[in-house]
Each structure stands twice: as C-alpha cells, then as structure tokens.
C-alpha cells in the first residue's frame, strides 16, 4: 500500500494476571484508510490484541509483556489510554460496556468530550450519530441500562464514532444486532472509510460479511498470527475457512 502506515504491532505478547498468556506473538500493520479484519475462533486473542493497542489491557490486570506498538509512527506501547483517544484512536469494547446509569445522549456526549468540542460542534456531532442510528434518537433520554441489547451496542459504536477518530478498533460490532443494523453498521464503516479515510481494525465472528468490507485480514490462533492476506485471498482459502471459520451448517 502506498498510504502511510497508521498502526504497527511488533511481536506483541499479552499476559493477564502475570500467568495467562492470551497473546503470544502478534505482528500486524494497518495503512491509513484501511479496513482490516482480525479473525479467529473464540479465545484466539482478538479482543486482547485490540485492548493491547488501546492500552486497556492494564485496566484488566493485564500487561504487554513483550513487543512494541506504533501509532502514526509513535511508540504507544506504554502510552496511557486517554492520550490515544485524544490522538484519534478509539476502541469499541466487546460486550457493549455502556454507562448504564447515564442516558443514551450522555453516553454519546462522553465520547465526544475527548476532543474538547464547543457546544455547537457537540450538537452537530450528536445529530450525525442520530442520523446513523435513528433508534437512538428516540431513546436518547432513557437510561442506557434499560435499553435493549442491540440499542446498547449502537450506543457503544456511536460513542466511538462521535469522537471523529482516525482509527477505530471494533470488537464484535455485530453481536446481538439485527441483520439490518449489522449491514447499516458496515455501511457506515465503509462510508467513513471512503469519505473520511478512517481506518478500522475489526474483530468479528461474522467472517463472510467482514471480508466483504475489509481490505485485508489476519487470522489468529491461540494468540498467534497464523495467516494473513487480502480479503480476496482469504475468502478463497478453503482450508482456513474450514479450520478456523467454520462452514455452513448442514442439518440433516
């Protein structure tokens, strides 16, 4: 790719509780404006890799035991999480993680604060998110804890997008969402990517859908990168499909 690189991981190793080795050896890179898929079975280490990048592993008794991470050319291996957010690197956590006692709108606002926007800017950003997710506009005053699972997922994604990020780490964005919304989300991803050049690193179980939108992909197994290539290549690799991605189910 001719684009400059936005993210590079060099032989990352992630250790939880000083004993559980969740990521053994992951190296990968993303160019600016690229959508890259991170694929792998449950427990392969996708989420851990993403949290390592966004510096959130430490909040879960984990640490990056080895390796280095560069974001826009800077070493961010040990940078505190908030500086990354300010630098345009945000993560959508797996499992929603909304602020249950805050309203939907307050959740979104919090996502925007990192940029220290003016009031007018805030309004504007909010409107944009509500355009993406009209459902959220309806529920804007409700406490997020009482909204449905899918609504919470929208809040989590909206909260990340409102920050005008350069790189978004999306962890299982489709989980619990209705098919229509899933598509919409990927459409939004594609649009942001094309129009504003936002880069995405997406960990997702719905492989086929993901590979449709992604440019490239990496396959993780037991905390290691065991394969990578363009989306096209990956789609064609039957063996990988069978091994890690599962096949269409045939019920007798």
């Amino acid at each position: 790719m001719s684009h400059p690189e936005i993210l590079r991981l060099e032989q990352i190793e992630v250790l939880y509780d000083q004993v559980i080795l969740a990521v053994r050896d992951v190296s990968l890179h993303l160019a600016q404006g690229e959508i890259v898929a991170l694929l792998g079975a449950n427990g392969a280490g996708k989420s851990s890799t993403l949290k390592a990048i966004s510096s959130l592993v430490r909040a879960q008794r984990g640490e990056i035991a080895r390796g280095r991470i560069f974001y826009q050319g800077q070493d961010i291996t040990h940078a505190p999480a908030h500086t990354l957010v300010q630098g345009g690197l945000v993560q959508v956590l797996e499992g929603r993680h909304c602020f249950a006692h805050l309203s939907v709108e307050e959740n979104l606002l919090l996502g925007a604060f990192a940029r220290k926007p003016s009031r007018a800017q805030l309004r504007q950003s909010l409107e944009r998110i509500y355009q993406y997710f009209p459902r959220l506009k309806e529920r804007r005053k409700s406490l997020t804890g009482y909204t449905s699972g899918g609504e919470q997922q929208m809040v989590a994604i909206g909260r990340a997008l409102i920050a005008d990020p350069r790189l978004v780490l999306l962890d299982e964005p489709s989980m619990g969402l209705a098919p229509q919304i899933v598509e919409e989300i990927f459409d939004i991803v594609a649009r942001l990517n094309q129009q504003e050049g936002v880069a995405f690193l997406v960990a997702e179980q719905n492989i086929h859908l993901t590979l449709e939108y992604a440019h490239r992909g990496y396959i993780l197994e037991s905390g290691r990168v065991v394969g990578h290539g363009t989306a096209q290549e990956l789609k064609q690799r039957e063996d990988i499909d069978a091994l890690y991605l599962g096949q269409a189910v045939h019920l007798g």
Binding site: S54, F99, A100, L102, L110
Partner: protein, 293 residues
C-alpha cells in the same frame, strides 16, 4: 409548642452537620462507585492536621492551606496505592479496602499527631441567641450555611459540567470510561481531594464542637443513615437525609425516649432509614440499581 419547635429546629440544624460528612461520602460514591468507609477517618485526619499545625504556631490561613495540601497528597496516595490496583474490581472489594484505609488513616493520623484532645476555636460563638422565643446557636446557623453552600456548588459541579458527567461515567464503568478517553487517575485524585476538602470542612466544624480527637472518626456512623435515606448518589439527598435524620432522632429521643427508654438516638436513624428503604429501595434520591436481563 415552642419547645417542640425548638427541638425540631435544633434537630434540623444538627442534621446539616451530619450532612457535611455524608456529602464527602456521596462525592466519592458518585464518582468512583466506592462506598468509602474511610470518610470518617479522613475527617479526623484533616482536623487533627489542622489543629496540630495551628498549635505549632502556624497562622490560621497557612494551616488551612497546608492541611489542604495534605489532603490532596492523601488523595493522590489513595489513588496510587488503592484505587489504581483495584480498578474494575467489585464494589464489595473496594468497600472492604476502604475499611483497611480507615485503619491506615486513623492510625497514621494519631501516629503523627498524637492522641491528645485538642480544643478548636473557629471564633464563632456557640452561645445561644434568643430569636422569637427560640434558642438558636450562631454556630449551628453557620454550619448549616456552609453545608448549603457546599451542596449548591457540588450539585452544580456534578449536574452541569463535563467533569460531572465524566465522574458519573467513571463510577458506572471504569473500563468504558478509559475507552472514551477519561483520565481515571486524574478524576479519582480530583474527587478524593475534593472529598478531602469536604472532610476538612466537616472536621473543623465537628472539631470545634467536640474537640479534635479520635471519636471524630465515629461521626461516619451518623452519616450512614443520612446517606441511606438520601440515596448514596445524591448530593441534595445528603442534605435532605441529614435534615430528616437530625429532626426525627431528636424528636424521637425527646418524645419517644421516656416511653421506650432513653438513648434510642443511636439506633433510631437506622430503623428510620430501614423504613424508608422498604418504600424506596435506593433512598429518596438515589439511583436505582439496574439489573435487567
């Protein structure tokens, strides 16, 4: 009747003194979800530090400043040693950690400043004035005023500012808060420092009344029912709770005491709080816990 009013009024004013301690509690609960049992110990620490400095000849304002600095230092230390390593752990764990913290602060304060009883004179008279046939102490009025100011300022801070929203977010889900770029250590340090300031205010007022000594840390037990009636996460709840507890316990002691036996003031607020809870399980103004499946 006049006597009834006097009791009522006295109770209400006494209640605001409880609120002062309760506010510190609420602050921390609201901003980090920590049920901070060490708030009482912090009150002791603040008052003791201040008085000891005063007695060593520092002028009033300088002592205040130095004490404030000490409270900030304490907040930083707590953030570093306690909150940071325990981030994302269960609320019960954090609660228990504050029990340990209470020991550390209590022991530390007395280790540094000794166990002597100190008098503290803020220059506000506690001698009663007669107002429309009712006895009122200027000191009580002053304390009530301070509490009112604190409540207004802190409510504005929480309700109307971005900082306030961030604080509430941290209490809800520290991990997500980090993910949206909130600086947890800073938030915590700020909140605990503000709570330290509130503790100092409470410590000075309580200290002026009781003398500055060990049992200051026990006022936390008076603040608990206040909190529970008001709800853990509401600053105005702390005031309303304080008023309710103050007034009702005095009335109960005076009018119920002769029937049931005196000294019921110690448990009465708890039983009252219990009754409140049965009707409103999260206190008058508290956030209900959300458990949907």
């Amino acid at each position: 009747m006049a006597f009834f009013l006097e009791v009522l009024l006295g109770g209400l004013l006494a209640g605001t003194m409880y609120s002062l301690v309760a506010i510190g509690f609420v602050l921390i609960y609201k901003a980090s979800g920590v049920f901070n049992f060490a708030q009482g110990a912090t009150v002791l620490f603040a008052a003791l530090t201040f008085v000891s400095l005063l007695e060593r000849g520092l002028p009033f304002w300088l002592s205040l400043l130095v004490t404030l600095a000490a409270m900030v230092a304490l907040a930083l230390a707590i953030e570093r040693v306690l909150l940071r390593p325990l981030v994302n752990r269960s609320q019960i764990t954090l609660f228990m950690a504050t029990l340990g913290l209470a020991y550390v602060i209590e022991g530390g304060a007395q280790f540094i400043w000794g166990t002597k009883v100190h008098g503290l004179d803020l220059g506000i008279s506690d001698a009663p004035m007669e107002l429309a046939g009712l006895l009122l102490s200027p000191f009580d009025l002053f304390a009530a005023g301070v509490a009112a100011v604190l409540v207004v300022v802190l409510s504005l801070l929480f309700g109307k500012t971005r900082l306030g929203l961030s604080l509430r977010a941290v209490a809800d889900d520290p991990l997500a808060a980090q993910a949206v770029g909130i600086r947890l250590p800073v938030i915590w340090a700020v909140v605990w420092a503000v709570a330290g300031f509130v503790a100092l205010v409470a410590g000075l007022l309580w200290g002026a009344r009781l003398g500055v000594q060990f049992s200051l840390s026990l006022v936390v037990l008076k603040a608990l029912p206040v909190l529970i009636i008001g709800g853990f996460s509401s600053i105005s709840g702390a005031i309303v709770g304080g008023l309710i507890v103050g007034a009702s316990e005095k009335l109960a002691e005076i009018y119920l005491g002769p029937v049931l036996g005196s000294g019921l003031e110690n448990w009465f607020p708890y039983v009252l709080a219990l009754l409140f809870l049965l009707v409103r399980p999260a206190g008058l103004f508290g956030e209900r816990s959300i458990d949907r499946v």
